[in-house]
């Protein structure tokens, strides 16, 4: 009996150790999350884990729930069911600005630069999460606020240099090209010094050379230790730089594997990677043939 108990203890200790290892390597965990808008279920029981330092691409047809998942992580939409954990902290119970302060930032598909500010000011807004001067401090221009403002400006200029836009710092967003606006949005997100960067269709509307440049930049960010979760329609490019690929269709998870495994699966390659991404109904139709 004593031997049996000691054996059980060993097993439990081993399991705990394994769990700790999994926990320490995972940065974000989505556990059986669902969200419904009336009768429409946009995301249905999706679970996956994102490891620290990885690039994860979510791909799938239009209406698969890809962007919805990003909004759920950012706290812009409430969950109907499930849990979202980030750095051992539950995200789905806290407001979006608090989630940002924990190290999660998003670059929107339509970028959403503030058109009433210059590019530099837009990027300076990105520094909000790690600064704290309030109305009194800034209104009275106290030393803390002055020092912080200088740091904000330095950070913003350095992030603009990183994306190659320091020469356009004083321009209004409307005077920049689409790709430059995309890079400005990225610089603004990077100014927040995020641990997890969410990119919603980063390649959308870009030309081949711009896509190649952005891919190099994303890989550089990964090397700098930023974990990236991107939603992308362009599957070739998304698989090219990803360590992990999640395929969604009609709100459900179809696959969660490495790019190599995804490519080698004939069913997935045919229905989700072949030229264009097919919808679930087309997949069912193809499977039944």
């Amino acid at each position: 009996m004593r031997d049996y108990l000691s054996w059980m203890k060993d097993i439990l200790a081993f399991t705990k150790e394994q769990m700790r290892e999994i926990d320490s390597s995972s940065l974000l965990q989505l556990k059986n999350i669902s969200v419904a808008f009336g009768k429409l279920t946009a995301v249905d029981g999706v679970s996956f884990t994102i490891r620290r330092g990885d690039i994860t691409s979510i791909i799938g047809p239009n209406g698969a729930g890809k962007t919805t998942i990003l909004k759920l992580i950012c706290g812009l939409l409430p969950l109907s069911q499930g849990e979202i954990w980030f750095k051992q902290q539950r995200l789905d119970k806290i407001p979006p600005h608090h989630i940002a302060s924990l190290g999660v930032t998003q670059v929107f598909q339509d970028i959403q630069l503030f058109s009433n500010m210059s590019i530099l000011e837009n990027v300076m807004v990105g520094c909000h999460v790690w600064t704290d001067s309030g109305f009194l401090n800034t209104g009275l221009k106290l030393p803390h606020a002055k020092a912080e403002e200088n740091k904000i400006k330095e950070q913003a200029i350095s992030k603009l240099s990183l994306v190659g836009l320091e020469q356009k710092a004083f321009m209004l967003p409307s005077h920049l090209s689409w790709s430059e606006q995309k890079l400005s949005g990225l610089a603004r997100a990077l100014a927040a010094e995020p641990d997890l960067l969410l990119l919603d269709e980063p390649y959308g509307g870009l030309m081949a050379t711009e896509i190649a440049m952005l891919s190099r930049l994303i890989l550089q960010l990964q090397q700098d230790g930023i974990t990236i979760l991107m939603v992308e329609q362009r599957t070739d490019e998304a698989l090219e730089i990803a360590n992990q690929v999640v395929i969604l269709d009609s709100g459900e998870k179809v696959a969660d594997a490495s790019p190599t495994e995804i490519r080698s699966n004939a069913f997935i390659a045919t229905n989700y990677l072949g030229g264009r991404v097919k919808g679930m109904s087309e997949v069912h139709h193809a499977a039944s043939k």
Partner: protein, 333 residues
């Protein structure tokens, strides 16, 4: 052509402020009591309008409740000094705390609403305030108001009116400097991110870590504090207050001043107040000569015409006329 936009913080802005301060402080050397009274009115309105410009022009919250907070400041000061014998200085500070606390509570409730609904609800606040002032006769004096409010001047070295003039304009310029610092800072940028009237977006602001509700309530409270300071100075300067002055018409007039002056910069408050007060004085002098009867109705018509003309030809208000380049997009080659 490389179009660029400058950061708002400019040394020129502070240099102009210094020159204007010197000009205003020297006005009593050559102006008579009548003109000093008009310039004081401009200062009072400019302070109230500046608070609204921070709220509407920066954060994009359409509020029409500034008269309530102006009234709260005036009545708090008056009640504390005449009924509880507080020193005027202490009463002014306590009025700020009272008005600020009430504004924070109102802001928390009202600013959950969006857009034009906020202006509707804040407009209703004027009616509630007027009703309360007229009903709480023991406290506010009802329709008769409050008289014998002591002056702010602690010592009689200079005439009270001159002291009030200097005090008012020093406070106005200090608040202007405070506002300019605010607009050109982390706080000002955070406010502009939520200004959906001019290119902001609340969702984006939140994703970037900005607590939108907290900022809205704080700037609403700050705007109320500005109005409260103006109200206290007004009450102590005149020595008596009555409820008529604190009605919805004042809130609307202040909103017109903000729009006419220009909401992109706190300077707009001074331009708007100066133009509309100057116009009121002109109409007071000439309207009765041209046509018989009271001038009040003609003032309202004139305000309406000016507002429409500004919205049509200078949608950003008068401010761009005094700057080389438009305030939101100062382009240079």
């Amino acid at each position: 052509m490389n179009k660029t936009v400058e950061l708002r913080r400019t040394k020129a802005e502070y240099l102009i402020l210094a020159l204007v301060v010197v000009l205003f402080l020297s006005i009593p050397l050559f102006a008579g009591p009548y003109h000093l009274a008009i310039i004081m009115d401009i200062g009072i309105y400019a302070i109230i309008t500046m608070g609204l410009i921070l709220l509407m022009g920066q954060a994009g919250q359409l509020s029409l409740g500034q008269a309530v907070f102006f009234g709260l400041g005036a009545y708090s000061s008056a009640i504390l000094t005449t009924q509880h014998h507080f020193a005027p200085w202490l009463a002014l500070l306590l009025a700020i705390i009272i008005t600020g606390s009430i504004a924070a509570g109102i802001g928390r409730a009202v600013l959950r609403l969006k857009g034009i609904i906020v202006s509707g609800v804040t407009l209703v606040l004027n009616l509630i305030f007027s009703y309360l002032v007229l009903s709480l006769i023991n406290l506010t004096g009802g329709a008769n108001g409050i008289v014998n409010i002591p002056h702010l001047s602690p010592v009689k070295l200079i005439p009270n009116s001159l002291f009030d003039y200097y005090f008012l304009w020093i406070v106005a310029f200090l608040l202007l400097a405070f506002s300019l610092n605010l607009v050109n800072s982390r706080t000002g940028r955070a406010l502009r991110t939520m200004n959906i009237l001019s290119g902001g977006g609340e969702e984006t602001a939140q994703v970037l870590g900005i607590n939108v509700m907290k900022y809205k309530v704080q700037v609403f409270t700050l705007g109320a504090v500005y109005a409260s300071i103006a109200g206290s100075i007004y009450a102590h300067h005149l020595g008596s207050i009555e409820p008529d002055i604190f009605g919805a018409h004042l809130s609307l007039l202040v909103a017109i001043m903000a729009i006419v002056g220009g909401m992109a910069s706190p300077w707009g408050a001074f331009l708007g107040a100066a133009l509309l007060m100057g116009l009121t004085e002109l109409l007071g002098k000439f309207a009765s000569v041209v046509v018989s009867g009271p001038t009040g109705a003609y003032e309202l018509i004139a305000y309406g015409i000016i507002l429409m003309a500004v919205l049509r030809f200078l949608p950003q208000g008068l401010i761009p006329l005094f700057q080389k380049l438009p305030p939101q997009s100062r382009h240079s080659k």
